[in-house]
């Protein structure tokens, strides 16, 4: 096509030149033809550059927007969602967990985090080539995001690093020391998040399906990296810290479900940045992931309230929003790999399964996972990761080709059931890393800070007053 265009253009330009040559010498004709040929080359090169630039502009615009959407998921999305679920006396401390991590994780990421997650090509952890964001500028990183500035990629990934530890706060809400939470987050990011991110998304990472991992695991937007690690760590924290004073005999109702509904809606909208943005381009795959995400959320909300309606007699608003979050979690690893109707199925299943986890399993085992970080994120993420192995198809994601350029089969629906095993391995590694890492970190925090849990009197008084000297609502003023 290009060659035809070139020759047509050349012909249309040289034709008048030929006519002109009849009246001038052959020498002049040759110079003019050469000159117009050169002009054409220059103009074509400029055209190619402009097209590339337009594609980059589209990609960059979408990726910057996605980064903002993902940050919005933490603040105020998660802050409101979790904040509304706790008792009034702890609303500020709970919101502070989400908010302050926006600050803390940013600094660690800038210093060393991006590098450890995405620098180099080892199997388990990155190196220090990007420490202090050295060489992270407007030039793209061709391994990860060839059409956008590396800065954009870095800042996008940062938002994931922020929300992951914020999710864990759901487990230790209402009883963790602020200093302990800060130290925990720094250590957890270093020991659990950066290694996991590297293994799944970093070049050469053990589980990286696109960049040379030994055990390719399909995790489009972070079902294992974000949700399983945070959810399982949440369980460990809940067990380690112990139950809240008065749990489960005392009533600990959400003090403001209105805030939680708003938060859940912000999470749903923000998740488009989380999943569709993981296409790292303003492409058809981004559209596909956007649709899958939305469908997963919708079906899961319905699944949860159906289960609740049958089990409890009344569908609750808390159930609807919890369901939608469970669906978003489960669709996260699958979003860029599955078709819309499997996305509905994945979401619906997550709604049912997570409902059971939260209302039956938790009650049976009696652990105080205050805001169901494990039930929703840990289990939802595991379920989603496994179902990705079933429903991943190259009809949606054509990024995996063999050396001859043919599309490789992806999941069970493509005739490759073995992928489910790889998914299971990815889950096992995230579970293992989360469990061991979290235990070690909690022990360290315990030793350095003389305990991670607040004193009983402070817990009863409320963390807003005891840790922050503030009240969330002052009605008399």
């Amino acid at each position: 096509m290009k060659r035809l265009l070139k020759s047509l253009l050349l012909a249309s330009v040289s034709l008048p030149a030929c006519v002109f040559a009849q009246t001038t010498s052959a020498q002049t004709t040759l110079t003019q033809a050469t000159q117009s040929n050169l002009d054409l080359q220059t103009r074509l090169a400029a055209l190619e550059a402009a097209t590339k630039s337009a594609q980059s502009a589209g990609d960059n615009a979408w990726m910057l927007t996605s980064a903002a959407l993902v940050l919005m998921m933490t603040g105020p999305g998660l802050a409101l969602f979790y904040g509304g679920l706790v008792r009034r006396k702890n609303v500020l401390s709970t919101m502070m967990h989400s908010f302050i991590l926006m600050a803390v994780v940013t600094v660690i990421w800038a210093i060393v985090g991006y590098s450890l997650a995405f620098g180099g090509d080892s199997a388990f952890l990155g190196d220090f080539r990007f420490a202090f964001l050295h060489n992270v500028g407007s030039a793209p990183n061709p391994d990860y995001a060839p059409t956008i500035p590396q800065q954009t990629y870095m800042i996008y990934q940062l938002m994931f690093a922020i929300i992951t530890p914020a999710l864990i706060s759901g487990a230790f809400a209402e009883r963790m020391k602020f200093s302990a939470m800060l130290l925990f987050t720094v250590l957890w990011s270093l020991l659990v998040y950066f290694p996991m991110a590297h293994m799944v998304w970093g070049k050469g990472g053990l589980l990286n399906a696109s960049l040379g991992g030994r055990f390719p695991c399909f995790d489009f937007a972070g079902g294992t990296v974000v949700h399983i690690t945070s959810g399982v760590s949440a369980l460990i924290c809940a067990l380690y810290l112990g139950k809240r004073v008065g749990y489960p005999s005392e009533a600990m109702k959400p003090h403001n479900l209105v805030l939680s509904v708003i938060g859940a809606c912000l999470l749903w909208v923000g998740w488009f940045g989380f999943n569709a943005g993981s296409a790292v381009a303003a492409s058809g795959l981004a559209s596909s992931a956007f649709v899958a995400t939305h469908f997963g959320a919708a079906a899961a909300a319905l699944g949860w309230i159906l289960a609740e309606w049958l089990h409890n007699g009344k569908p609750s608003v808390l159930g609807a929003i919890s369901g939608c979050v469970a669906g978003l979690v489960a669709i996260t690893p699958a979003s860029g790999f599955v078709k819309p109707f499997p996305a509905l199925l994945i979401g619906f299943t997550a709604g049912l399964v997570c409902y059971c986890m939260v209302s039956m399993v938790k009650r049976k085992f009696g652990y105080d996972d205050a805001l169901d970080a494990f039930g929703v994120h840990g289990m939802g993420g595991t379920l989603g990761a496994l179902l990705t192995g079933i429903f991943a198809t190259n009809l949606v994601n054509d990024g995996f080709k063999d050396s001859a350029g043919r599309l490789l089969p992806l999941g069970l629906v493509d005739g490759r059931p073995s992928q489910v095993l790889n998914q299971a391995l990815g889950c096992a590694i995230s579970w293992g890393l989360a469990i061991v890492g979290t235990l070690v970190i909690l022990k360290i925090c315990d030793a350095l800070l003389g305990g991670v849990r607040v004193r009983k009197e402070h817990e009863i008084e409320g963390l807003d007053i005891s840790l922050h000297g503030e009240e969330g609502y002052i009605f008399e003023s």
């Binding site: 159930g319 919890s322 939260v358 039956m360 169901d372």
Partner: protein, 112 residues
């Protein structure tokens, strides 16, 4: 002087206020309270956790009236607040030793 304390259903408040205004009583203190007598509460469920809520929202009215008016006030109040069902509420009457208007130091019934 008599103090009349009435605990009524919140949705009856407007009707009671209008009725009392109709007989010339427009000074009262109103607070939102919770409580119950023989009225049963309800069950709330949050993510599988069940809670029995037996503290029901009510409205408390307090007013101090001249001895001679007490009966009329009670009749009007009760009449407006009544639905005939359990949960209608109660009225308590107590004796008041003194009443003082802060603005100009009026005392006794002229302070009401």
């Amino acid at each position: 002087m008599k103090k009349i304390e009435a605990i009524i259903q919140p949705f009856k408040l407007d009707e009671v206020k209008e009725a009392l205004k109709g007989i010339g009583i427009d000074g009262m203190t109103i607070s939102e309270v919770r409580g119950h007598g023989r009225q049963k509460g309800h069950k709330e469920v949050y993510r599988g956790q069940e809670y029995n809520v037996d503290l029901l929202p009510k409205v408390k009215l307090e007013m101090v009236v001249a001895e001679a008016r007490a009966d009329e006030v009670v009749r009007t109040l009760a009449g407006a607040a009544r639905t005939g069902k359990i949960g209608d509420g109660k009225i308590f009457i107590s004796e008041i030793a003194e009443a003082i208007r802060i603005r100009n130091d009026d005392r006794g019934e002229s302070a009401l």
